[in-house]
């Protein structure tokens, strides 16, 4: 297995993913999303090295959602006419409902697989650098995001500390999710109070090192777009086009 997807330019990858999702939104037959989903899986399987166990775990909630879509569309979907093809526990399902339900289900699967493909094969640092270099995102935003990214482990550590300290004060661990949501306020205020101070210091440190937010002409680590990226983009678009065409033909 190669690492082609990992080495692909993140901005090109990002554009392809966005274009694919927008295109999918216009197809309501079950075949287009199904074929595209299978296509994406095949690409990811042959062109990336990822932890499939983790991948399967991340897919789990999306799969449950997809099944939910299938069920609710079949049971509660508006009656848009068409031939009744079967009935179950007094619910009649028409062929159009059947097609819509599967279309939605596969769409959820295709979208989530595509998002995970991007997330699993893209280094966040390279992505931000590429956004700045290829898509002309202002350096202020790009480097600001980078600082935030560096802070994540520090904040996670602080959150643990705060949680431990508060438990000592007699705040019991909340059993239900709504209690936990209500309890985040208590955790977030001490953390954010510290984060605001840290953010100001980081901004000062950057400015003191000559950062003015002006666009740069040269980069130490240029993220380039190469011929390979165009070929990969072509492959994705081909998969997309074939699924669209096949869906139109088979959906007739």
């Amino acid at each position: 297995m190669s690492r082609l997807l990992h080495d692909m330019n993140p901005s090109v990858k990002f554009i392809i993913v966005t274009v694919s999702m927008l295109t999918m939104a216009f197809f309501f037959n079950p075949w287009t999303p199904l074929l595209f989903w299978v296509g994406i899986l095949a690409l990811q399987f042959t062109m990336s090295r990822i932890n499939w166990k983790l991948w399967a775990l991340m897919m789990l909630p999306f799969t449950l959602g997809a099944v939910g879509y299938l069920w609710t569309t079949l049971v509660f979907g508006a009656d848009s006419g068409g031939e009744v093809i079967g009935s179950f526990a007094g619910i009649e399902v028409t062929d159009e409902q059947w097609a819509h339900a599967w279309s939605l289900t596969f769409r959820v699967m295709a979208f989530s697989t595509l998002s995970l493909l991007f997330a699993f094969t893209t280094n966040p640092v390279t992505f931000v650098m590429s956004l700045m270099q290829q898509l002309k995102v202002p350096p202020k935003i790009a480097y600001g995001t980078m600082v935030g990214y560096q802070f994540l482990p520090v904040l996670k550590d602080e959150l643990t500390q705060i949680r431990q300290a508060q438990r000592l004060r007699g705040v019991s661990q909340d059993r239900h999710w709504w209690q936990r949501v209500a309890g985040t306020r208590r955790l977030l205020i001490p953390m954010l109070a510290g984060a605001v101070r840290k953010a100001e210091r980081a901004a000062f440190a950057m400015e003191a090192r000559g950062f003015t937010g002006e666009r740069r002409k040269e980069f130490y680590r240029p993220v380039r777009v190469s011929g390979r990226d165009y070929v990969l983009a072509g492959v994705f678009l081909a998969v997309l086009a074939v699924s669209c065409a096949a869906g139109l033909i088979m959906g007739k």
């Binding site: 007699g170 400015e207 740069r216």
Partner: protein, 475 residues
């Protein structure tokens, strides 16, 4: 050659929201190659002065400045944004919030990109600065994985890579332990000799710098210059001498305590006893298990073995982590365990009455610490563990901490204090628990530890410099 690189003529500065000036009529010159320290109590405007020199102020705070600042013979206002940062570089105090990239190399390149150094030159300058600072082996290191002292060296390298003429330091030792701090100062000393840089630092704990500085500019609380004289080696912070509060009754008794988290043994079985009113300092190298011990004792971590205690409380390095409510009064009453009389008594003793209705986040650091101790006492936890309370404290802060602990100890409260600061330990401790590599080396009398250089060395500690000097001064 006496060339003035910095010259100030009657400089005053005021924040837009303040009625009073933060800095008042400052006039002085700094020559090329000088080592100058700006000292003064917290809040005297030393950092503000530094930010005026590297031009972070007045633009970043819309401050109002008067008088003339000349940098390299040119008026400071005539420099374009970012232009002066080529020649004046700054190192800040917090090692955790002055980096924006992942690795050392990328971080160095970030400075060079900002300064628009041509690509052909970048590689040479990175190699040069890494050699010069002795960080060549760290080129590909992930910054967040480095220790505090290493991060400060990287921050200095990032400042030096712009090949500046002046290096500004904003309390660079504040977050380092004394041994790391001493090594940093020695390293900086070599670097300055080699480059002939002008060094201007803001610092309140001059004792750690020994003989590094040639000249000291002292600011008073109203932002006026009260002295400008050759710097001499400083005596450490002075603490009053006081009798122990030990009562002889047992308070905390630990037998065969060990901690294992996800299959890894963090603390090997250890036993010790602490008396009521005793102040025990827990010391040892970073990562040796001091915080783990503290958290196990107060019940945050699960442990095996037995801990007998009338109730153990914990005050983290940031006391605000404990706060749950919107007023100091609610904070102390939170658990509902203390009666109104107890609460009033605590408010009185801990001097919380003036801030009784204030929001616990809006008071000073020293007051936050008092509130934290108050909450622990209100919850019937008369054994209190404090995690690194000395870190980042100035003289006044340390003295306040000293009297807070000392007074409570005489009321029968038992303290376990994690600190690297042996000056402070020498003043406050009845006994010292030394920890190394997850093992308790032993519980010692404080005097015995200072007398044993190999024991100190093994636990990365510096002997208190006042150990022999304090006696005659306070006898």
């Amino acid at each position: 050659m006496h060339e003035h690189v910095i010259s100030l003529a009657d400089v005053s500065f005021r924040f837009p929201d303040d009625p009073e000036n933060t800095l008042n009529g400052l006039t002085f010159e700094i020559q090329r190659g000088e080592r100058v320290v700006i000292s003064g109590p917290s809040g005297c405007g030393k950092s503000t002065l530094l930010y005026l020199l590297n031009r972070l102020y007045p633009l970043n705070c819309d401050g109002i400045d008067e008088g003339d600042i000349h940098l390299f013979g040119k008026s400071a206002d005539d420099y374009r944004p970012g232009e002066i940062n080529r020649r004046i570089a700054t190192v800040f105090q917090d090692p955790d919030s002055q980096f924006c990239m992942t690795t050392v190399e990328e971080e160095l390149a970030f400075t060079l990109e900002n300064l628009r150094v041509p690509r052909a030159d970048v590689e040479r300058r990175i190699v040069d600065v890494l050699d010069q600072t002795g960080l060549a082996n760290f080129r590909q290191s992930v910054i967040q994985s480095l220790s505090g002292g290493q991060k400060q060296r990287v921050a200095t390298a990032c400042a030096l890579i712009s090949e500046p003429e002046i290096l500004l330091l904003d309390e660079p030792l504040a977050h380092l332990d004394p041994l790391t701090a001493r090594n940093f100062v020695q390293w900086l000393d070599g670097l300055q000799r080699q480059t002939g840089l002008t060094v201007v630092a803001v610092e309140h704990r001059l004792d750690l710098w020994e003989r590094f500085f040639e000249r000291e500019i002292v600011l008073g609380l109203d932002g006026q210059m009260i002295a400008d004289h050759p710097s001499d080696s400083k005596a450490p912070v002075a603490f009053p001498q006081s009798a122990t509060g030990m009562t002889g009754r047992p308070a905390l008794s630990v037998t065969e305590l060990s901690v294992e988290i996800s299959g890894k043994q963090l603390l090997a079985p250890l036993s010790f006893d602490v008396e009521e009113g005793e102040i025990a300092v827990i010391a040892g190298p970073n990562g040796s298990g001091k915080s783990t011990l503290a958290k196990a004792l107060c019940g945050i971590y699960k442990h095996s073995g037995t801990v007998r205690s009338p109730g153990t409380g914990y005050v983290p390095q940031s006391p605000e982590f404990l706060f749950l409510t919107n007023s100091v009064a609610d904070e102390l009453a939170f658990s509902g365990l203390a009666t109104t009389e107890t609460l009033n008594d605590l408010a009185e003793r801990l001097m919380l009455t003036p801030i009784w209705d204030a929001h616990p986040f809006s008071v000073s650091h020293g007051q936050k610490r008092r509130i934290a101790i108050g909450t622990m006492l209100a919850d019937n936890r008369p054994v209190i563990i404090m995690d690194e309370p000395t870190s980042g404290q100035d003289t006044a802060g340390l003295q306040e901490l000293f009297s807070l602990i000392n007074e409570r100890s005489r009321e029968g409260i038992t303290f376990l204090i994690i600190t690297h600061d042996m000056e402070f330990a020498a003043a406050v401790a009845d006994s010292i628990l030394l920890i190394n590599d997850g093992r308790l080396t032993g519980k010692f009398r404080a005097e015995d530890v200072w007398a044993d250089p190999s024991l100190l060395d093994e636990h990365h500690l510096l002997p208190p410099r006042g150990a022999d000097r304090r006696e005659p001064t306070f006898a």
